[in-house]
């Protein structure tokens, strides 16, 4: 192996670095399928998760493509009403529960959390493996619902439509989500226990990288919000399949109570999708600006504040539902409050660039795109927190555009930023940088072309979940569908060049970005036990320059962050 590196002129490797006769990497410790499917190594489980979420991403993406194609014209010319309804439900259910929620925590979180805090593995490795199986089984159950005729309730499963009126495979679909909920809770328990108990010597709470903080706060939401969804699903199944009256309005049940329970989970779930992306952005932006993060303490407080206050705001999904207007005012106020810590994060990322040595490698391009898209998504959130505007745009394309800016524009950009940033660490290979930069730029423009017109269509009054629509909205839908084609190409591109790099990419050195985190203080890819010896931490994270001094051009990292024993 080492000889090949030495021969390769493209490699940045110091030939000595890999020629030390070190233990084999986690990738080469057993190559059989069985060795992967029974592995309790957090890094291998992360790879398993990466494969399954990628599969679900493309299933959900295929449904979205059909939806956008259908909306190209105002008439129903591609699919009929029922098929369309099943397509957007499939898109929502798969993307929310089998891509967005597990995406960053179970792949990057699983792989990096122990590495970043200097641990050998997560606290409960067997539970970690079990969580992957639960996630895949849940996904397969939900996919079975598609084979059994599909689900047409929308991902929100509102009663009484889902319990008494829909004739589709709702029960199977929600049971899949229920099973995947166990997987989510297991991951949350694991991450919280790991962060508390397995930090390396010297890794105090305020020396944790922000990505670890993001995983920790996300896990709190995992553990405390998911059970409410699980119970809500049981209530729906009990009413639909066991015939117990639960929300049945004819018997005095309250459908609005379902919405409270559902959004108590599903609003914090938005922060499950958001916080991990914020963690990745903080890691990448410091590395490519060669600066310490601006206001580390405030970044931590902001993460915690978003995670906690995020639980207080669910009612803004229900302003038109017939909820009491007094409760609506409370929820409106709390929704404005939760926007403050998000704004602080944007300002701090911006300020981190100031007086830096900014490089434009592909992870950084994704992150710069993230900041723009997140700002637009966050500010349109203020529109939706204002009751009079929300009443007008609730359940229109304005809402669709808003949450896609947050959950797709921002979070998926962060996902790709992380993928490009840590790809050398995961696989030990470098990808073609030009292609990666091109995909990043294409993704940004494709995304805006797809979703910005939807803000306008929504304010003009185009409702969501319409497969036929009044013809005056066609111009916005044509723009949006064209953008979706560009976006689809941009999402497929990394699949191609990253796969190529697995076989033909240059070997990666241990720390190709000259980054500061502990995860770079081991080989690429890391060995089964993660580190050679016990890492110790001596300083705050993002130690790109001495405190109070300016970063110099390509200054080598000062070697106090972690030591290789």
């Amino acid at each position: 192996m080492s000889t090949r590196v030495a021969e390769s002129p493209a490699s940045l490797a110091d030939p000595d670095e890999l020629a030390l006769g070190l233990p084999e990497s986690y990738l080469s410790a057993g190559g059989t399928l069985g060795s992967w499917l029974t592995s309790t190594d957090h890094k291998r489980i992360a790879i398993l998760y990466a494969l399954s979420v990628t599969l679900f991403f493309f299933i959900g993406g295929a449904a979205a493509t059909l939806v956008r194609l259908e909306l190209f014209t105002p008439q129903a010319d591609l699919v009929g009403a029922d098929t369309y309804n099943k397509l957007f439900t499939l898109h929502g259910v798969i993307m929310v529960w089998f891509f967005l929620i597990p995406s960053i925590p179970t792949t990057f979180g699983n792989f990096l959390l122990p590495l970043m805090i200097g641990a050998r593995d997560l606290a409960f490795p067997k539970l970690n493996l079990a969580s992957w199986y639960l996630n895949v089984i849940g996904g397969l159950i939900t996919a079975t619902a598609v084979l059994a005729g599909g689900i047409d309730t929308g991902w929100t499963f509102y009663v009484p439509y889902s319990t008494t009126f829909s004739n589709t495979a709702v029960t199977i679909g929600v049971l899949g989500v229920f099973v995947s909920g166990f997987s989510t809770i297991a991951t949350g328990v694991n991450f919280i226990a790991t962060t508390h108990l397995l930090r390396a010597p010297g890794m105090t709470w305020f020396r944790l990288p922000l990505f670890v903080w993001a995983m920790y706060t996300t896990s709190i939401i995992f553990v405390l919000a998911t059970p409410v969804l699980a119970l809500t699903i049981i209530l729906v199944v009990a009413e639909r399949s066991l015939g117990l009256p639960i929300f049945d309005p004819a018997k005095g049940g309250d459908p609005i109570l379902f919405q409270h329970l559902f959004w108590f989970y599903s609003h914090p779930a938005v922060y499950i999708m958001l916080l991990p992306g914020m963690g990745i952005v903080s890691e990448v932006i410091t590395c490519f600006a060669r600066r310490r993060i601006f206001g580390y303490d405030f970044m931590v407080y902001a993460l915690v504040a978003i995670a906690v206050i995020g639980f207080f705001t669910w009612g803004h999904h229900m302003f038109t539902s017939g909820m009491s207007p007094y409760a609506a005012l409370i929820f409106s106020f709390l929704s404005f409050v939760v926007a403050v810590p998000s704004a602080i994060k944007v300002f701090n990322w911006t300020a981190t660039l100031y007086r830096g040595q900014v490089g434009f490698e592909s992870p950084m391009l994704y992150v710069l795109g993230y900041i723009g898209l997140f700002t637009v998504g966050g500010l349109t959130g203020l529109f939706l927190a204002s009751i009079p505007i929300d009443v007008h745009v609730q359940d229109t394309y304005f809402v669709v555009a808003h949450f896609h800016y947050i959950m797709v524009g921002a979070t998926v950009s962060a996902y790709f930023a992380g993928l490009h940033f840590w790809w050398p660490k995961f696989t030990g290979r470098m990808y073609p940088e030009t292609w990666a930069k091109f995909a990043a730029v294409l993704m940004f423009f494709g995304f805006n072309l797809t979703f910005f017109p939807q803000f306008i269509a929504g304010y003009l009054g185009m409702p969501r979940r319409y497969h036929v629509y009044p013809p005056e909205f066609q111009v916005w839908n044509v723009l949006s569908s064209s953008g979706a084609a560009v976006l689809a190409a941009a999402y497929l591109m990394p699949l191609g060049y990253l796969t190529w790099s697995l076989f033909f990419g240059a070997r990666a050195v241990n720390d190709p970005w000259n980054a500061s985190g502990l995860e770079w203080r081991t080989t690429s890819p890391p060995p089964r036990v993660n580190f050679f010896g016990r890492p110790a931490v001596l300083a705050k994270p993002y130690n790109y320059h001495p405190e109070g001094a300016a970063p110099l051009h390509d200054e080598p990292r000062i070697p106090s962050q972690g030591s290789l024993t």
Binding site: T40, P114, A119, R120, D121, L122, A123, F124, P125, L127, I185, G188, V189, N190, I192, A193, H196, L197, L198, V223, L224, A225, T226, P227, V228, A230, L231, T232, I234, L235, A238, E239, L242, G243, L244, P245, I246, D248, A250, K251, G252, G253, D254, L257, H260, L261, F264, V529, R534
Partner: protein, 230 residues
């Protein structure tokens, strides 16, 4: 960070020590005690999660009861308070044996006591399910299953029994899982007696058992003590 209550004279079994706790560079005794704390912490996080699960269930109960107080009182009078009270007593007693098992498992000389307490816990759990089964049989005979031919005329009384069947069912599933976990410990104690004392799984299982007990303590007044004075 080690818990004083579990840093005891429990025997050291190298086989209890798992990855990644064996790689912390701690002496074996300390590593084992730290791992045990980790297991306890883990199950408590899970219990906090379960609190929200049952919290949502009780929220449903409270909101519907606030709206239909009368119908709930009428309907709750139909539940069988004898079975309910008997089952509460059974579960409280199982909580006693579970707590005793958890305390005793920390000492090698109390191995037999641990084993017997585990057996008592599982038996009481099964007794609870048996009483519950008899109660279900009576309820079905009295047409207390919501739907056609329901005993009471008010539609919202059916909501109460919707909650009754659902909540006792969910609690029963939790209890069955608990009995399974205890049975596993009994099996370990029977086949490998030396693996019972000091095993972190005893405390974890007993904490879960205690939580299932607590849920029933709230279900009891919610289902059986409503509308009795009338």
């Amino acid at each position: 960070m080690t818990d004083p209550a579990i840093a005891t004279e429990a025997p050291l079994h190298a086989e209890f020590l798992r990855e990644p706790w064996d790689g912390l560079g701690l002496p074996q005794e300390e590593a084992l005690s730290y791992q045990r704390f980790g297991a306890t912490f883990g199950i408590w996080i899970f219990i906090a999660s379960e609190v929200l699960f049952f919290g949502a269930l009780f929220l449903f109960y409270a909101a519907v009861r606030a709206e239909h107080a009368e119908a709930f009182a009428t309907a709750a009078r139909e539940t069988n308070i004898v079975y309910g009270t008997l089952n509460t007593a059974i579960l409280l007693t199982s909580g006693l044996s579970a707590a005793a098992a958890s305390l005793a498992s920390e000492h090698v000389p109390l191995r037999r006591l641990t084993q017997w307490c585990l057996v008592a816990t599982a038996t009481l759990g099964l007794a609870f399910l048996a009483v519950k089964g008899m109660e279900y049989r009576d309820d079905i005979a009295e047409h207390l299953v919501p739907g056609r031919g329901f005993k009471l005329p008010e539609p919202s009384a059916q909501l109460f029994f919707g909650f009754y069947w659902l909540s006792t069912g969910i609690h029963g599933v939790h209890l069955t899982v608990g009995i399974g976990l205890v049975a596993r410990l009994i099996w370990i104690g029977w086949r490998h007696p030396e693996r019972l004392p000091g095993n972190p799984q005893v405390e974890v299982t007993m904490l879960y058992w205690g939580f299932v007990d607590m849920v029933w303590l709230f279900l009891y007044p919610a289902l059986y003590l409503v509308g009795r004075p009338g």
